[in-house]
């Protein structure tokens, strides 16, 4: 009798599991910036859903896979004003049962967000901040970085310039704090790969609008004046994260030289023109869903949400500890349309990735370049490598 009951119960249980058992729901939070940065070109003006659209597309991809595994992915979004502590936003989302956060905030605010999550077992994905220090002295065991670093971007560009034998660089740097950081990365790359910075000039941001009705007349006179008298150089490397001047350099330089860096040939994690290695399919899916092209920030957020999905698929769990452990482990690899799998640097949780070099129309090349060798992974020729790291994960 007891046996019959047990069997019946078991049958019932199995039936419940097979027929429409509640799917495992994995909740993701997206925390982005409320402000958009000003850009020189209208074409570069960030869309309202920059970043979060990439995460949404990855969620769709995760849910298509999830329907075969009875997993469901949902996302909530919060926006934080520049300089505002994101702690409240994080805690509010955490109270909704969210354990995974995709974050596009400045380095300081990202660290505040992660600190807010301490002790609650939250996992953060830095999709926006390219600061090396977040992977070095300020690294954390609960923050994964899908955005490349300045040093990775600079190395990706430098390898190509060296491949071209454009070894004499005229470095033009903006006057903002972030520009100084990027200039440091460029100097480091030049030193590593054997290029020479023949001179450095600072382009002061004196304020003012990016868009005026008669601006061009002045600019085509100002830029050659600014660049005159420079020592012989093969290429102008511009560093201008705040979009003050770099896009004005191409075709306006004193000497007929190509421009690279923040304008001209730009190193980035993704570009709307990238169509190799199946990327065309992702670009098409994105266009169908959002009626616009996919940006680098979209891709960095897509990668983060896909990492969560990929791990959940493999470990068949939504538990943040289990997922984080899988992502840090040797079996994790992300297919992200860049010709090889992306993996995590286990010493600082940075996603290894090729760097695209885009001219705004096409992908000119993809780094690492041939011949830049590494004993472990050629992707580790980009950015600060294990032996130089200051990161102690905790």
């Amino acid at each position: 009798m007891i046996r019959t009951v047990t069997t019946a119960a078991l049958v019932l249980l199995l039936t419940a599991m097979l027929a429409g058992a509640e799917p495992l729901t994995i909740k993701i939070g997206y925390v982005g910036r409320a402000e958009k940065k000003a850009t020189i070109s209208l074409l570069d003006y960030p869309p309202d859903n920059d970043g979060v659209a990439g995460a949404r597309l990855a969620l769709e991809d995760n849910n298509t896979t999830g329907k075969f595994l009875n997993q469901r992915f949902v996302m909530e979004e919060a926006r934080v004003k520049d300089g505002t502590d994101p702690t409240d936003a994080i805690l509010r989302l955490a109270d909704h049962g969210i354990s995974f956060f995709i974050v596009d905030l400045s380095a300081d605010m990202l660290l505040k967000a992660a600190e807010a999550g301490r002790g609650r077992g939250l996992v953060f994905f830095n999709a926006g901040a390219i600061d090396d220090r977040l992977r070095e002295e300020d690294c954390r065991a609960d923050v994964i970085h899908t955005a490349p670093t300045r040093s990775m971007l600079a190395d990706g560009l430098a390898q190509y310039l060296v491949f071209k034998r454009w070894l004499r660089w005229l470095l033009v740097v903006g006057s903002h704090e972030t520009d100084k950081l990027f200039a440091d990365a460029i100097r480091r790359s030049a030193g590593r790969f054997g290029a020479k910075i023949v001179q450095e000039r600072v382009f002061e941001d004196t304020g003012g609008a990016r868009r005026t009705d008669s601006g061009l007349v002045q600019i085509q006179r100002q830029i050659p004046l600014f660049l005159q008298g420079a020592p012989a150089h093969d290429v102008v490397v511009a560093v201008d994260e705040s979009e003050v001047f770099a896009s004005y350099l191409p075709y306006r330089t004193r000497d007929p030289r190509p421009v690279a860096g923040s304008a001209g040939l730009i190193p980035k994690s993704w570009d709307a023109a990238h169509d190799q290695w199946g990327a065309n399919q992702l670009q098409n899916r994105f266009m169908q869903s959002f009626s616009r092209r996919m940006t680098a920030l979209d891709m960095q957020a897509w990668s983060a949400a896909r990492m969560i999905g990929e791990a959940a698929t493999r470990v068949k769990s939504g538990d943040p500890h289990t997922i984080l452990a899988y992502l840090k482990g040797p079996d994790f690899g992300l297919a992200a349309f860049k010709g090889q799998k992306l993996t995590l640097r286990d010493w600082n949780l940075q996603l290894r990735q090729p760097i695209l070099l885009a001219d705004g129309r096409t992908i000119v090349s993809v780094s690492p370049q041939e011949g830049f060798l590494h004993q472990f992974s050629e992707l580790d020729t980009l950015g600060i490598d294990r032996p130089e790291t200051k990161c102690r994960l905790k």
């Binding site: 896979t65 075969f68 199946g278 050629e378």
Partner: protein
Amino acid sequence: MWLRTIGGICVAFVLAGNARAYKAYVSNEKSNTISVIDTAERKVVGTIKVGQRPRGIAITRDQKYVLVAVGDDDTIQMIDTASNRVVDTLPSGPDPELFTDDPSGRLLYVANENDNTVTIIDIERRARLGDVEVGVEPEGMGLSPDGKILVNTSETTNMAHFIDTATHQIVANILVDARPRFAQFKDDGSELWVSSEIGGTVSVIDPLKRVVKNKISFMVPGMRQEAIQPVGIAITHDGKTGFVALGPANRIAVIDGTSHQVQKFLLVGQRVWHMAFTPDEKYLLTTNGVSNDVSVIDVAALKVIDTIQVGELPWGVAISQR
């Protein structure tokens, strides 16, 4: 005069004696052409203009048509093998890439990369019979020898979907490594091999138990692991030897079909994609995307014996049965 004729006959005889002549059709992804190769002479004897971005290619069982998926035109073109001209199209979904036909030669199953479906087409009527919803970016297509189970691999979902061809329902989903691209049954139906391009492995699946029973990895001395990207698979009729194209590793791995051990690597052209045997299984032809050529492998000797220049970015290859 007399001698010359004899000479000519001798040459012809020798060629015929060495190998029967089949036609190999190679899709050139960038040229938008099909190169036609005479497998005995080992040279290109014709070039056929087709639509945008030809990739997946196969010959109908009656040998009347070469079917080629022209992804950027969202269709499959039918080339008349007698005239070497495109004579008709089949109604696939958007961006068709790979497809397989059923044993009767009546139905065609097509993976449409852009809308997460597999389309079923009646070849004779040129009619679309229905769609099956699968994972993200469907790609590889394999049919069990009895025609009962269709396997589709989805590149971003990382699964082999088992589809019952009678009901068009998915009956099993098997997780494999990242970006599965190709599915190949052994002729006796005992094993299904699925290549994972980004994962760098081939999963050997037991089709009855529907579990991965073995996983083949590849270690090429001096080659970085990321460059090993398995794509096309070919298995001999007796199931004893498998060949796996390793993409940018520029090699074909030769695998013992029983022990699943890698026996040997054959150096071919750059970014090797897909393969096809001649019907007598004497030769295996590989498409080498970046070097714009086709390598000819002597299957018994396991040696690369020739290279044939074709169009730009050769991708798929199909060989006529007569």
